[in-house]
Symmetry: C2
Subunit: 229 residues, 2 copies
DNA sequence: GCCGCAAAAAGTGCATGCAGTTTTCCGTTT
DNA sequence: AAACGGAAAACTGCATGCACTTTTTGCGGC
């Protein structure tokens, strides 16, 4: 394989996989913004591969919903209108609620210990106002929640939804009071889970997303609000 | 486009789209069964196209979860172990519950009228024991439910889940009493929706899937039980 | 007979080329 | 100056070819 020179960076898997990672990386980090055109030739040149793996990557990203493809025209980073954005938030809230509910019932002792420890540790980040670190913690927290539901398929669905919201949730936590609020909401979820109180955990998680969603609604035009998923 | 001869059948869209439809058709209808290898060359020959569009189609089907791909080896129709199957059923139940709940709140007058009319009409199919026709009705019924939730993203998720279950729900409704049971459960859902009773509708839809799931559990080894989704 | 193992066969991964389509650019007309 | 039209440029869609990997095959050793 790899006839010409190789762009070893990100070394792992096939060229197509690298392209999928690379391109979705550009999208998720915001280097490419919704609506931007994805020209196969340019991408191929940029990563020093032929158009073939780029095409396959775009096809896959299309199936995942990150980009939109139409016959004979360039792929485009998916845009979402307000309606669709709302529908994704609503779906996210439902899914998070389900995960929290199931997690409250199914998490192992280790998992409970782990999510609690992580949550406690994040308190320090709040006080220090370490936004970036808190964002990283936040990602881990929610991932733990999704895994805690012990349902492979739901994990896939929620992860996928999360990925599609990713382009829209850059640069947050900068809103005043956001961190503290987030921590408190996490607290409610964790407490309920530790108590194995499924209903409360589910409602708290639903409300957690709903909070963000409400905030988002007030910033409709410039949808850059929601990191806290 | 299309340099050589053309396989016009299914005429529509690009060659890749045709391949996606064709291959997923083979999977959903059972011509290809879970675990079967999908050889690019053979498929290309069979449909008289080059390997390129076949590869892209397989890539897309992989992203959709219908087939599994690993580097340097043939794509394979996705198998699901018992765990994963259960997780998909559980997810389906949750999603159907959500859809029914939202549909009870959001369906337009026309939508309510339409789903009720369809349901009423299906009564005749029960009496006649028209299994195939009832299966078709059943698909429409559930689709109407999903659309009635008026949430684009949830529609995507549930449709996708449904597609992944498709290979496993061939040839059902043949179980004795299945049709009647299904009809009764639909009835409960419809009634609640017409009353705009969200909680009841949600529970009924959840239970509807749970019923099928239970039936499935008793047939673990040969997972050919669940048409009623 | 069966295990190992090397060579052949089959199959995937990617690059390249060309046909067809869309987009861009520019001169012409109104 | 804006609107139109058409040719050139840019780009997508697919076929084909070759390198590399996996699978199969066939044969000698045990």
């Amino acid at each position: 394989m790899k006839q010409g020179r190789s762009r070893d960076i990100i070394r792992a898997g096939t060229t197509v996989e690298q392209m999928v990672r690379a391109i979705s990386g550009l999208i998720v980090t915001g280097s490419l913004r919704p609506g931007d055109k994805l020209d196969e030739g340019s991408l191929a040149g940029r990563f020093e591969v032929s158009r073939t793996p780029v095409r396959e990557a775009l096809r896959q990203l299309g199936a995942m919903g990150l980009v939109k493809r139409e016959p004979n025209r360039s792929a485009v980073v998916s845009t979402v209108d307000e309606n669709h954005l709302n529908s994704m938030f609503e779906a996210m809230a439902e899914l998070e609620g389900i995960c929290a509910r199931l997690a409250a019932l199914r998490m192992t002792v280790d998992e409970r210990r782990s999510i609690e420890a992580g949550h406690r540790a994040s308190h320090r980040l709040i006080r220090d106002g370490a936004e970036d670190e808190y964002a990283a913690h936040n990602t881990r927290f929610h991932t733990a929640l999704y895994l805690g539901a012990h349902n492979e398929h739901i994990y896939d669905l929620v992860t996928q939804t999360r990925a599609r919201l990713a382009p829209f949730r850059r640069a947050q936590f900068h809103l005043p009071g956001r961190l503290v609020r987030s921590f408190e909401e996490h607290e409610a979820i964790v407490t309920a889970i530790l108590r194995a109180d499924a209903a409360t955990a589910g409602n708290a998680a639903y409300a957690h997303v709903a909070t963000v969603r409400t905030a988002a609604a007030s910033v409709v035009a410039n949808p850059q609000v929601f990191a806290d998923l």
